[in-house]
Symmetry: C2
Subunit: 110 residues, 2 copies
Amino acid sequence: MKNKQKQVQLRDVQDVLDIIGGRWRGAILASLCDKAKRFNELKRDLGSITPRTLTKELKYLEMNKLVSREVEASGAVSVIYSLTKHGRSLEPLIGQIVAWGQKHRKIVLS
Amino acid sequence: MKNKQKQVQLRDVQDVLDIIGGRWRGAILASLCDKAKRFNELKRDLGSITPRTLTKELKYLEMNKLVSREVEASGAVSVIYSLTKHGRSLEPLIGQIVAWGQKHRKIVLS
DNA sequence: AATACCGGTATCTTTCAGGATACCGCAAAA
DNA sequence: TTTTGCGGTATCCTGAAAGATACCGGTATT
């Protein structure tokens, strides 16, 4: 493989980890892989995230076309967050991350 | 799947992204997937990283048993960094990251 | 003898993700 | 009519990541 191409690959890795990295983004995406969720549902599932951070991260993921936000206009306020088609294309990647994480945890514990 | 298990998965995602995330760690690992490298070789390949940061990240990866550091005691100072067996187990994951990154870049550009 | 490369270390500084805490309007339930 | 839940926003603050810059002792090169 050419050197140029390797450089591009490194940038791809950096870009992707910039998108799904950080304390929360990967977890949010993984949580939405399971099913579409409402704001507070997501918040509860993630455990210790603050609403401020959740709002910010969701907006970021929305901007990057990975998550979509829909307001159900049925009386009370209700907002549903779900993965877009592009977001769902991350599922196998997230699956591998989980798998490696399990393996890694076992190794570290031994 | 049970709720407990989902929570564990979220933690796995967070843990893994903590290890390979950040501006440089993923790129360092990807670069070492290619071949073992010396300090300044790695530095050049990564482009804009400072020696301070490279040192720090390499130590972190060493601590996590993903990278090994070997000093070649042949006259001049020569240090080789390479992936450990455990580090090489990340290769498929990194491959998927690159693949998704390429796809994502195309989508964003269109 | 001077210069350049190797593998870093030492300081200083900026940036920013993310926590803590309080609050908001609205609607439904009690 | 008070309380509870929803979906957030507003401020303030800290710690860690990482850039900028300078420097180090060694060796090899010229």
